[in-house]
């Protein structure tokens, strides 16, 4: 098991990847996932979803979770 990480829109383009897999060891929160995969602090304007539901950077993630990062939405 591991954490599945997804990126969308301008975040996906900037990081130049749309998804990746991350070992869950030592990770507690969604914000920590971002730090681990990007090497930078989570910017304030990056939104977070855990298991396809809106979440906060400080929310807990577990092995097997899907964590997504994306910019403010602009649909409709």
């Amino acid at each position: 098991m591991s954490i599945s990480v997804k990126y969308f829109a301008s975040i996906r383009e900037r990081l130049n990847r749309s998804e990746e897999s991350l070992a869950a060891e030592g990770i507690c929160t969604a914000g920590e996932v971002w730090v681990r995969t990007t090497g930078e602090a989570l910017p304030a304007n990056v939104l977070v979803a855990i298991n396809q539901e809106h979440a906060r950077a400080g929310d807990t993630v577990q092995d097997g979770d899907e964590v997504a990062f994306f910019p403010p939405v602009t649909g409709g």
Binding site: A9, A49, Q52, F70, P71, V73, T74, G75, G76
Partner: protein, 143 residues
Amino acid sequence: MKIRLTTGPLDPWAEVSTYQQEQASIAGQFGATAVFVGTMRQLNQGDAVRAMTLEHYPGMTEKYLEKVSNEAGERWSILDSLVVHRVGNLLPDDPIVVVAVWSAHRADAFDACRFIIDELKTRAPFWKQETTINGRRWVEKNT
């Protein structure tokens, strides 16, 4: 209640008409239908937009729109609702989204329809990328 995402052309009036005919159980029950259609404009923030690509988060988008439609059904007295949203490549004047709500009375239909499109616009995981004469750019502000 129905949620649908589509990459093909979207005819909002045909979507509403067809869905309504399929819902035999609400015939004779609804006195009010409120519909909102969002359409791609040629101008955005003063620049001529030639084309647009709509990205979304498959899975989460549907989940979120279902949640919002259910919440509308809890907050207002409605009989049915429909949300169809286009994704992929669009041209100016192309319909992007249609939200329709059927209710016995008009206040519930209007309120629920507006609630669904407001939530969709501010929280559903869709992202617009516009192509202007200066190239591509992500739309950063919702309208």
